[in-house]
Symmetry: C2
Subunit: 395 residues, 2 copies
């Protein structure tokens, strides 16, 4: 039988990252590909205790829950948001299955075919896929190291009337960029002026290497919660298997997204939500995040030092100030998509940079994840990778 | 700020069932409203042990997983499907956040605005909402106690070229109906002839009161897995808080739905999936389901006997052969939506029947859930309900 799928499925493509993840799970490949956190640091014992508390609370813990999410968890998130300077309340916090679901639900309630979404370039490839699956036209705004260029942004807002602007302003995926506080405020001012919504995706904000620097979420400047949807997740700071993220923002938008979520899956796992509540209540997450920061910093510098040995001039990168990724650009002849097959054969994987670009892929870029592997594994994997990178390329 | 939502959000409406659930959670209302399973019967101790096994398996249990779902769980579901006569394999089984997500993902990959979906009438109201949210036109097929009328079905397929047919053939929500085996085969034959897909929703199939009767899933007749998407869930047979459902069917459709799920939420909670795997491996789910069946049968007969006391002629209902619901029709003057407010004041809740209808709501119908309350609570709640029902109505 020929299955007549809806036209929007023509935009679907399996995520390169996840396809590689599948391959590398099978063999002895050292993977710098997926955005995986370090397993060694997972607070397994504390997670286990948190689940024990759920079951000790009785059988009602296993019943259906609210679409909005477990109320005590939403209250705990409100406290977390307060500390970041974001004013929220449990009514405008929606718990989701990871922040991926926030990107999808927000797109679902906002986008119609032909609508424009403005983004950075490169940006999170799965977000690009979601926007396109709803028929949106994604347009990149010119950026430098400090964030979007306000002039280009204003011009594109005026001409294209975007439905919203999607950004990862703090330790971006894929390129680890951090926006300056000035550019954050510039963006918000323009969005106030032209009444445009912002989707601020902040999965990595907690993983900050230099404590003396201060970054404020854009949502913190949006004091009336009118223009910014802020989303984050516990996948990077606690464990990914929980699949628990959240979004806070304008109550009208959160309510609409809640209705969409009701149709989408009724609610996310409430056992996990309850466990996370106990974990946040009883476990010192701050000191756990401190541990993550120092360990990931060590791993990043290990990887950076391996790259430096290749010799300057061949590859360029910016040292990330946080997050989980090193973004590397090679000479113009390099095609990292072709290189990937060879690298996997040598026992190391990365993600080619091309799919992260909105329109004009730079085929000489690639993303390296430093959080998942121990420093020793990073050295071994980088030896393999450098060998592949330095081999003369047949273009 | 005025938020300019996508036009399809105009079809959104908060689910009546869940809104009532919220109200009734707050007070001392006896609720026959939601489709909640019995908490007393939840296998709390066994669930707890299953999670302990997850954490005992080590830190990798907390890492990101596959979009398709935890492979050993998909293998266990294959075995379960085999026992129902449905041939499947782990590659064409997708694990989801409840079967609600199956309805949503299938609609997402199949439906464009203007497409037709054929359904029973009344049918699961949240499915109607999903289909409409994708712009589909839902058309009801004439049915009797045995299922859809093949003549009307054929006529509507020929004229309307539906994208798919959605049915709950075994202990339907809301009316508890069971299709005859003949009608199941009639439906499949027509779908073969006209190349139409079927979404067979089977959340209640395991809760069968009379073991001597035999019902075969329609998917069991679809030996090449070409035309039927079969979905079920562990929410009713194990516990809802796990939010774990699945779908099996044509591999092309499952792959497309997997891509949609990747964009939607990457994957469902893998802690829950692993726990469910250990539960299915080590716990006697069959004898647990036997317990559910006999307890729910007792509860159903208690409720039925209370209804019978009202006096015949005022209300009509069919005794359900399984599932969780009694569907009741009153005299034509009755408006159960108006009645609900009064009932909640008296301390009892139900769901008005109107939202379950496709086009022509019967305002004199309502749905009673008998699984959630103990027999004593059912008696108390039915006393309250009967008082409200027998009060002369101001129309």
């Amino acid at each position: 039988m020929n299955y007549s799928f809806a036209p929007q499925t023509k935009t679907y493509q399996s995520s390169a990252v996840r396809d590689i993840l599948k391959v590398t799970q099978q063999g002895h490949v050292i993977s710098f590909a997926g955005g995986l956190p370090s397993e060694e640091i997972f607070p397994l014992e504390q997670v286990k205790i948190a689940y024990e508390k759920v079951f000790a609370s009785g059988k009602s813990s296993l019943q259906y829950g609210l679409t909005e999410g477990f109320t005590p968890l939403r209250e705990a998130i409100q406290t977390k948001m307060d500390r970041k300077g974001i004013s929220s309340n449990p009514d405008n916090i929606l718990i989701t299955t990871g922040s991926q679901q926030v990107i999808d639900l927000f797109s679902r309630v906002m986008l119609s075919p032909g609508d424009v979404v403005l983004t950075e370039d490169p940006t999170y490839l799965s977000a690009l896929q979601v926007f396109r699956s709803y028929g949106a036209q994604v347009v990149a705004v010119n950026s430098d190291d400090n964030g979007m260029d306000p002039e280009d942004l204003q011009a594109k807002i005026e001409i294209l009337h975007p439905k919203f602007i999607y950004i990862i302003p703090t330790f971006s995926n894929p390129d680890g960029k951090v926006w300056s506080n000035e550019r954050r405020q510039d963006l918000l001012s323009l969005c106030y002026k032209y009444n445009v919504l912002i989707l601020e995706d902040d999965p990595y904000g907690d993983i900050q290497f230099h404590q003396e620097e201060e970054y404020h979420p854009i949502a913190a400047f949006d004091t009336h919660q009118s223009h910014v949807l802020y989303t984050s997740t516990f996948s990077k700071s606690v464990v990914p298997a929980l699949r628990t993220g959240w979004v806070t923002g304008p109550i009208e938008v959160i309510k609409m997204m809640t209705q969409a979520k009701q149709m989408n899956d009724l609610h996310s796992s409430s056992i996990d939500q309850q466990a996370l509540y106990y974990l946040l209540r009883d476990f010192n997450l701050d000191s756990h995040i401190d541990l993550l920061r120092s360990e990931y910093y060590k791993r990043m510098t290990t990887m950076r030092d391996c790259l430096s040995k290749v010799g300057s001039g061949l590859f360029t990168w910016k040292e990330p100030k946080g997050g989980m990724f090193l973004w590397v650009e090679g000479n113009e002849q390099l095609n990292t998509t072709i290189l990937l097959g060879e690298a996997v054969e040598k026992g190391v994987a990365f993600v080619p940079g091309a799919p992260f670009y909105v329109n004009h892929p730079k085929h000489n870029t690639f993303r390296l994840n430093f959080s998942h592997s121990t420093p020793d594994t990073i050295k071994l994997g980088m030896d393999r990778l450098v060998e592949v990178l330095l081999k003369p390329q047949v273009v």
